[in-house]
């Protein structure tokens, strides 16, 4: 049966729930972190295994919710639908679903809150699928994820799936180590077919990408030591940024041509695609690798980064052109700076997601499976 939301579960109780393999929609213990004093984050301890992927459920306009998927080689993996309770004080598990394999990438559909995609591996096999969350109100004790589409044209290890970030679009992109696929999908009929495909050749190794929110024909792909850009109509390369060993890339949601990269050594770099020769800005990033980087969906000068030094950093980085009228040495000119460093993590942080509904809120996921939701409201007010 359903466990009432006020019921406090201890770690052992949780474990026993899983061990008995009861497919339950459980509500896990939420707590305010007081361990290190300074931290204000709301922690969700529901993920029992290691995890890398977390996504904002953008299409859910009624709630601030996130989807997180686990990465366990041997145990049964899960996808958690996590919701920030209305006063913003608790993280509630709205749904727990078993996922057949360990999840390396998870993206939420931008126009349907119940649809999401995952990239997974199991030993030597790999795959990418689009799933639908079952009706939560149903009386079923064991809600199963409905498998909608399999993106099974890949011959290399799949790296990520991209949805067009700015609304309803019937296309999907999937990226594996050697190819870029453009799919036409029909979720209601559970149909997907490849429209076009581009191979980057044996010399390159794709590891990720981003879809330009300002132009549904433009996509960026992360190669070994460069960032490549394609036009999806022709599937031809349009430009590239050399000397960028990127782990992650994110387009500026407000201004076209601008994007940010996270790199192992160079930290965070901001680029203007019209001048790809050298970065517009550099931010130090993290003590070790900078793994993920995201613009705030509303305040594009706020940039969030996650690193393998077990921290999440909040940066204020004014895009070029914003303050050009103010002289460089004037004290009035806003400086780029590290606004805050969130250190309440025990392991590398790989997952990072701003909430679209509540842009002052972000969720982060460290490798040990801890989801921490923080509010940056004080920094927004200050500027």
């Amino acid at each position: 049966g359903r466990i009432p939301s006020s019921f406090p579960l201890t770690q052992t109780v949780k474990r026993s729930v899983v061990l008995h393999n009861q497919r339950l929609t459980a509500v896990f213990l939420c707590r305010r972190v007081t361990m290190r004093g300074a931290s204000t984050g709301i922690v969700y301890g529901g993920l029992k295994y290691q995890a890398r992927s977390i996504a904002d459920v953008k299409a859910d306009t009624d709630h601030t919710s996130f989807l997180a998927g686990t990465l366990s080689l041997k145990e049964e993996n899960e996808v958690h639908l996590i919701r920030l309770s209305p006063p913003g004080s608790e993280l509630v598990c709205e749904g727990l679903f078993y996922h057949p394999n360990e999840i390396w990438d998870l993206k939420s559909c931008p126009f349907n809150p119940r649809i999401f995609s995952t990239v997974y591996t199991s030993g030597e096999t790999y795959g990418a699928s689009v799933w639908q969350i079952p009706e939560l109100n149903s009386q079923s004790n064991a809600p199963q994820l409905e498998h909608l589409i399999s993106l099974n044209e890949h011959s290399f290890k799949i790296k990520c799936v991209l949805w067009w970030p700015s609304g309803k679009h019937d296309k999907l992109i999937s990226i594996d180590e050697g190819n870029l696929f453009l799919w036409s999908i029909d979720t209601s009929n559970k149909m997907a077919k490849v429209i076009s495909q581009e191979s980057v050749g044996m010399l390159h190794n794709l590891s990720g990408g981003a879809w330009d929110p300002h132009d549904r024909n433009a996509v960026a792909g992360i190669c070994d030591s460069s960032l490549e850009f394609w036009d999806l109509r022709t599937m031809k390369k349009t430009s590239s940024i050399e000397q960028a060993h990127a782990r992650d890339v994110d387009y500026n949601p407000k201004k076209q041509h601008l994007l940010v990269t996270a790199e192992d050594v160079s930290g965070i770099r901001l680029w203007d695609l019209r001048r790809p020769k050298c970065p517009v800005k550099e931010l130090p990033g993290h003590a070790h690798w900078t793994w993920a980087v995201r613009h705030n969906p509303e305040y594009d000068e706020l940039i969030l980064s996650a690193g393998t030094d077990s921290t999440v950093n909040l940066w204020l980085a004014h895009p070029p052109g914003a303050n050009d009228s103010i002289p460089v040495d004037s004290p009035k000119r806003p400086k780029d700076s590290l606004l805050n460093s969130y250190t309440d993590y025990e392991d590398s942080v790989y997952g990072l997601a701003w909430s679209t509904r509540e842009p002052s809120v972000f969720a982060s996921l460290s490798y040990d499976g801890r989801v921490v939701v923080e509010s940056v409201k004080s920094y927004i007010r200050r500027k």
Partner: protein, 690 residues
């Protein structure tokens, strides 16, 4: 006839006027009048006759006179013609006399020159000689042969004397300059002598100055004259005292201005710009020297002297920075000490410029350093021309040199220069107090402190990235799920150790040794306890060896629950140990991250276990922070364990055997390579094998 007409008229008038009388007078009266008039007319007629006779007489006389004049004239012409020939003759004689005089001059020239030499009137001698030159040129070979030879001998003597004059230091400079000019007039080759050129140039310059002066004064004179004229004009036309007074005042004012302002101001302005330029070029020259010192002695790969080349670069550039700056200061101080009146006026300005110069110099130096590291776009983001230096072509050694040089500038050079400036370039303040002093050592120190940290981090990043690429290749190439049973320690450990060795060579040249402290954990914040407990636990584990690996994992997981995370990312210090250990920590963390991205079968896991176990001891030779290394190595094995489908570790005896095989093998190899080749080529070979 005229008279008659007049008379007639008069009579007529008389008639008409006396018309009323005509009726009154009687005929008798009229007759009477007629008689009188007739008599009168008769008289007049006689007079006229007499006069006519007189005039005819005069005419005759005139004719006589004319005849006489004509005769006189003809006689004088006659005389003139007779004298003409004589005059011509006289003129001819005169010309001949002049020629004879010239000839006499030529004949006398040698004696004259001798006299001049005796009197040391070389200027006259030269003038005489040059004057007679055309004649010698025309007739020197015929009529005046002897004369020419004699005077040439004399002029040779003159030249000799003049030369002596130039080289004699006892002579006043004007005399020497004059000598140079004279020699030049004689077309004597004096150009090869620098000193004389200098003297001549000085002289010429002073001549130019003189001529400029004259011209200027002439202009002024002219102007004053016109003013005077105007004054006169106005004075003549309107005697307005007020106006003349105004003009007078103008003139006196002009007199004052002329004396004090006009000329000195111009020369002051000229001196100002020249000194300013001098100072700025001095600084840009120094900037160039510094970057040359840095790049010239950049380590050339494949050269035997690599061991010390970085050190040379550092020492060389240090010297250029400090010595160059002090030399500049000395030069500028001489400028102030010259005690020229003009410079004294500029003193404050010079002080400001020197201070500004240093401020700008160090700011530019910082930008230059960045550009040398291929990061020029940070200092100058708007420049469309991106420095040709690409990040991947930058020599890592150079970055390390820059880091240490920045520290040197911050800690040694700036305080020293500040002292020097305080001693001889204080004051200034022509900029106004609200701007404060031009040279702000605090700001420069701050710039170089952060620059030093940035370069040190950049060095670490560059090295880490290089190793990271090596590790990436290692982990993405094999299929870890189908890995075969480990037979030996993998090659990549050799490459890793070689890279670290290379780092060691570089840092040992540049950075000082840190205090040797084992367990240096007070540096890291807040994790003292955890890392100590880690160390002791690890010591125990190595003793009991790997049979308890499984329990070790459990232990580490448990430990993780209670411990706070290890503070491995501590602040880097400018010591050999700190830099190397930071690089190693970063690499081990990267290793862990790479492992986490793979899935291993049992053999794959065992291979990782073997490689890491092997690395343990060699890594500890590089660093003093054993605990951190142990912790991170354990994390790598832990990560592999997590990502392994069947994590059963290697048996301890097999592990030990494989490791000892590797140790003896690498010892053998290193011996062989030491005999045959340089270590650099070992790297190349092993890379090929990879």
């Amino acid at each position: 006839m005229l008279w008659i007409r007049i008379l007639l008229r008069d009579s007529k008038d008389l008639h008409t006027d006396s018309c009323p009388h005509v009726q009154k007078l009687n005929l008798e009266g009229l007759l009477q009048k007629h008689v009188e008039m007739a008599a009168e007319i008769k008289n007049l007629d006689t007079d006229l006759q007499i006069m006519k006779n007189n005039i005819v007489g005069m005419e005759a006389n005139m004719e006589q006179l004319l005849a006489k004049i004509t005769s006189v004239q003809s006689k004088s012409d006659l005389v003139n013609t007779s004298l003409f020939e004589k005059r011509e003759h006289i003129e001819k004689l005169h010309r001949t006399r002049n020629l004879l005089r010239k000839v006499q001059f030529i004949y006398d020239l040698p004696t004259r020159l001798a006299k001049c030499i005796k009197a040391e009137a070389y200027a006259d001698a030269v003038r005489f000689f040059i004057g007679s030159k055309p004649i010698f040129e025309a007739y020197g070979d015929s009529s005046f042969q002897d004369c020419k030879r004699a005077s040439e001998e004399a002029i040779d003597l003159v030249i000799k004397n003049l030369e002596a004059k130039i080289y004699s230091d006892s002579e006043p400079i004007e005399a020497r300059a004059e000598a140079v000019v004279l020699l030049k007039q004689l077309n004597f080759p004096v150009v090869d002598d620098l000193n004389s050129i200098l003297i001549a140039d000085n002289f010429v310059a002073s001549c130019q100055v003189d001529s400029l002066k004259t011209k200027l004064l002439e202009k002024l004179e002219d102007y004053l004259m016109t003013l005077q004229d105007e004054h006169k004009e106005t004075g003549a036309s309107a005697l307005d005292t007020l106006e003349t007074r105004v003009i007078w005042e103008d003139v006196t004012l002009m007199d004052e201005v002329l004396a004090e302002a006009a000329l000195p101001a111009f020369s002051l302005e000229a001196a100002r710009s020249i000194i300013r330029q001098f100072i700025s070029t001095s600084f840009s020259h120094l900037l160039l020297e510094v970057s040359e010192a840095l790049t010239k002695s950049q380590p050339m790969p494949k050269k035997g002297s690599e061991e010390s080349s970085l050190q040379n670069a550092l020492e060389g550039s240090k010297k250029v920075v400090i010595q160059g700056s002090l030399d500049l200061l000395l030069e500028f101080r001489q400028l102030l000490d010259d005690n020229l009146e003009l410079l004294a006026k500029l003193r404050d300005l010079i002080v400001d410029w020197v201070q500004e110069g240093f401020q700008g110099f160090f700011q530019k130096l910082d930008e230059r350093f960045l550009a040398l590291c291929g990061k020029g776009y940070i200092a100058n983001p708007d420049s469309s021309v991106i420095d040709a230096i690409q990040v991947d072509k930058v020599q890592t050694g150079l970055v390390l040199v820059l880091a240490q040089l920045s520290v040197f500038i911050e800690q040694i050079a700036i305080p020293r220069i500040m002292e020097e400036i305080a001693a001889s370039f204080s004051g200034g303040g022509a900029r106004g107090y609200e701007h404060g002093p031009a040279f702000v050592p605090g700001e420069i120190c701050r710039i170089f402190r952060s620059a030093g940290e940035r370069f040190l981090l950049l060095y670490i990043n560059m090295k880490t990235q290089k190793i990271s690429i090596l590790l990436k290749k290692r982990f993405t190439t094999p299929n870890w799920i189908k890995h075969k049973e480990p037979r030996e320690v993998h090659m990549f450990v050799d490459l890793l150790l070689q890279e670290l060795e290379a780092v060691g060579i570089e840092v040992r040249q540049i950075l000082p040794q840190g205090l040797v402290r084992r367990h240096r954990h007070s540096d890291s914040t807040g994790s003292t306890n955890s890392s100590r407990s880690n160390a002791t636990r690890e010591d125990k584990l190595t003793r009991t060896n790997t049979q308890r690996v499984r329990s070790q994992f459990l232990e580490s997981h448990l430990a993780k629950l209670f411990e706070q995370k290890m503070e491995i990312f501590t602040k880097v210090q400018y010591t050999q140990e700190s830099v190397i250990s930071t690089i190693i920590k970063f690499c081990l963390k990267s290793l862990q991250e790479f492992v986490r991205l793979q899935t291993f079968n049992r053999s794959g896991f065992q291979q990782i276990q073997l490689d890491i176990e092997f690395l343990k001891n060699p890594l500890k030779e590089f660093v003093d922070d054993d605990a951190a290394i142990d912790f991170l190595l354990k994390e790598v094995i832990g990560a592999a364990h997590e990502r392994c489908l069947d994590p059963i570790p290697l048996e301890a005896p097999i592990l030990d055997k494989l490791i000892s095989t590797k140790i003896s093998k690498s010892r053998e190899e290193s011996q062989r390579y030491n005999k045959l080749t340089k270590p650099k080529e070992l790297f190349v070979c092993s890379e090929r094998r990879l």
